[in-house]
């Protein structure tokens, strides 16, 4: 298929100065409008002429969408247009919500983090190359998934919750925000709506053409992180083909509160009191592993618990032709998220293996 690159189709550009104006524009133009945040996902689509919006609403001039501020006595609020670099370097984020700082720091490259926004990172589209090449797949409104075929290149695709489309969500910050029990603030035509982070994302069973709940006319304005998990024990790990910069093959984020003596031997003296854990790039939406959370709560934080959690996490996984490796990968990531990163804590833990 011939693709014209680097020459965008004409569109009308709006640069509102306030959220109200932006929302009004989005409402006015509905599905014809494209929201431009950092532009890192958008310009691929526009330059490749795969998406040809009539109207682009550039949010970069809206000051109220930028910055990290205290949300009363209960946590912080991050404006949707806050860059990932700002998130990584913010002292409160580093001090209390380091999980998000870790995740944001592993997004792409420094240059991209300087430009990319937290709102854009959680709202970006999937990286499935069949879809991004403009092929008429389910996600593009067609009636086939080119990746879920015997010869399809599906090494990076879903092992869980696939429903016709097997694309995955590529966000690194999304699982961290789910683990931190963040709330997403959305401005809609009916007013402000606040949803749990995990409910911001949707799978193809609900809507095969979108990765999140934003409807035409809606605008993600901020992300609120409550203090519930401030200062907890965090774990974030991202597996990618190129460690310099790449999208995740899979990532895991956990926030845990454990009691007991963490210095003792393999860590089994600790008991898991509370935990939230999430993985991404395993399905079309970042998955909160509620079953795992319930299973490990009250259990000793040791290799056996981690092993059990890993097995539980991949229950129901269905590999495609070329991504069976993701099953042991997910088991290991979940296990490590439970046990922690310390070598002592991981002693006695066997990694699941996979051979092609």
């Amino acid at each position: 298929m011939a693709v014209i690159r680097d020459v965008m189709a004409a569109f009308e550009l709006f640069q509102p100065a306030s959220v109200d104006d932006a929302q009004r524009l989005l409402e006015q133009h509905g599905p014809d409008a494209w929201v431009l945040a950092g532009g890192l996902d958008s310009f691929d689509w526009l330059k490749d002429r795969i998406k040809k919006p009539k109207v682009v609403v550039d949010l970069s001039g809206i000051g109220e969408l930028r910055g990290i501020r205290a949300a009363g006595s209960d946590g912080i609020e991050i404006g949707a247009m806050t860059t990932l670099t700002e998130v990584v370097n913010h002292p409160i984020v580093k001090q209390k919500y380091d999980l998000l700082a870790q995740a944001a720091e592993l997004v792409a490259s420094p240059q991209i983090r300087n430009q990319g926004t937290i709102g854009g990172n959680v709202s970006q589209d999937t990286r499935c190359w069949y879809y991004r090449s403009g092929w008429p797949c389910y996600r593009a409104g067609g009636n086939i998934c080119y990746a879920d075929t015997p010869e399809g290149r599906n090494r990076e695709h879903a092992i869980l919750q696939a429903d016709r489309c097997v694309a995955v969500n590529p966000s690194d910050s999304a699982p961290a925000l789910i683990a931190l029990d963040a709330k997403f603030v959305i401005r809609t035509r009916k007013g402000e709506r606040v949803v749990d982070a995990e409910d911001y994302f949707i799978g193809p069973d609900i809507d095969i053409t979108r990765l999140h709940i934003l409807q035409p006319g809606d605008l993600l304005t901020a992300i609120r992180i409550p203090s519930t998990w401030a200062g907890a024990q965090f774990y974030f790990e991202k597996i990618r083909d190129r460690n310099v910069w790449d999208f995740p093959l899979m990532n895991v984020a956990s926030a845990m509160v454990a009691s007991g003596d963490s210095s003792a031997g393999n860590g089994s003296a600790q008991t898991i009191d509370r935990i939230r854990i999430s993985v991404n790039a395993a399905a079309a939406r970042p998955l909160r592993l509620k079953v795992v959370e319930d299973a490990v709560r009250g259990q000793p934080r040791n290799a056996a618990t981690g092993e059990m959690a890993g097995k539980l996490a991949v229950r129901g996984a269905i590999p495609l032709q070329f991504n069976a490796y993701k099953i042991p990968l997910m088991r290991n990531l979940v296990k490590r998220a439970i046990i922690g990163s310390g070598a002592a804590a991981r002693s006695g833990a066997e990694e699941a293996t996979w051979t092609s």
């Binding site: 092929w135 009636n143 086939i144």
Partner: protein
């Protein structure tokens, strides 16, 4: 305005991918327009119906109080088919109009139920029921002509009373067969594109153009069924058709309704005494005439 949506396949071929979804609303509006036009006609313009022939008191006396019309098996089939059909329509089209839920699994399961019930019905109707009762016969065609002429104000003899099923009922059945089978056959093939328990996925079973046409046919049959089922429900709820609707629940219709609408010679009701074939129609029986599509659908 395009009635189909098209896409360019990876091989550069222009292929249809499905119907344009505004056709959903076209079908819904068509269904409502039919209600309005038909109800208005019946209310203000329809003349009383007339039928040829009378039924002798002796024959009428042999007709039981409750005339059996649908066996329990036939009724169960009808309601299972109705439930699966509604499930199919709602799961197919609600997501297209903004009501989002995980519909695919419900949809194909309902499709399997419908397919199984239709297969059962074909066997049941072919070997255990009067197979030809639902197909138009010569008298139906003659009477349709007579009714059309009388509707147009021409002088024509009144039609006979109906057999077990009025012509409109038979034509509706034919339309349901066409739309239903189109949806079922294409739907069975489309199950090769999703994960089911029946067979491995094989999206390359057909070429892009064939798949595209299959999705288009499935969609057209689907929106056609929206209108057909709206019309069916409408007639099922019309006061003069309620005896027919009740017969699909209880299995029988009253003797009075039977004698008013049906010809004992064309729909022979088994009685404990001799069959009603001795009924002798007389030429001047009067009922309601000229109602066109009002007859049971």
């Amino acid at each position: 305005m395009d009635f189909l949506e098209w896409a360019t396949s990876p091989w550069g071929q222009r292929v249809p991918i499905h119907i344009a979804w505004f056709l959903i609303w076209v079908a819904v509006i068509a269904g409502f327009l039919f209600f309005v036009v038909h109800a208005t006609y019946l209310r203000y313009f329809a003349r009383p119906r007339e039928f040829t022939g009378t039924i002798s008191p002796a024959v009428a006396a042999r007709i039981p109080e409750h005339v059996p019309r649908h066996s329990l098996t036939a009724r169960l089939f009808h309601w299972i088919m109705a439930a699966s059909m509604f499930t199919l329509l709602f799961t197919a089209f609600l997501p297209k109009v903004g009501v989002q839920f995980p519909w695919v699994t419900y949809h194909w399961i309902a499709g399997v139920v419908l397919t199984a019930s239709i297969l059962f019905h074909v066997i049941h109707a072919s070997f255990f029921m009067d197979f030809w009762a639902i197909w138009p016969d010569r008298i139906d065609l003659r009477d349709a002509w007579r009714r059309m002429m009388r509707f147009a104000g021409k002088h024509e003899a009144p039609p006979d009373k109906f057999a077990k099923y009025p012509l409109e009922n038979k034509l509706y059945h034919g339309a349901i067969i066409a739309a239903g089978l189109s949806a079922i056959v294409t739907g069975v093939f489309m199950m090769f594109r999703v994960r089911t328990i029946f067979f491995p996925r094989n999206p390359y079973l057909f070429g892009d153009m064939t798949w595209g046409m299959m999705y288009v046919l499935h969609g057209l049959a689907g929106v056609g069924l929206i209108a057909l089922i709206m019309v069916h429900v409408y007639f099922g709820l019309r006061p003069e058709k309620l005896p027919i609707t009740k017969s699909m629940i209880f299995g029988w219709m009253s003797r009075d309704f039977y004698l008013k609408e049906h010809d004992p010679k064309r729909w022979v009701v088994e009685t404990s005494s001799s069959p009603s074939s001795s009924a002798s129609p007389a030429p001047d029986s009067k009922g309601l005439e000229g109602r066109g599509l009002t007859d049971a659908v």
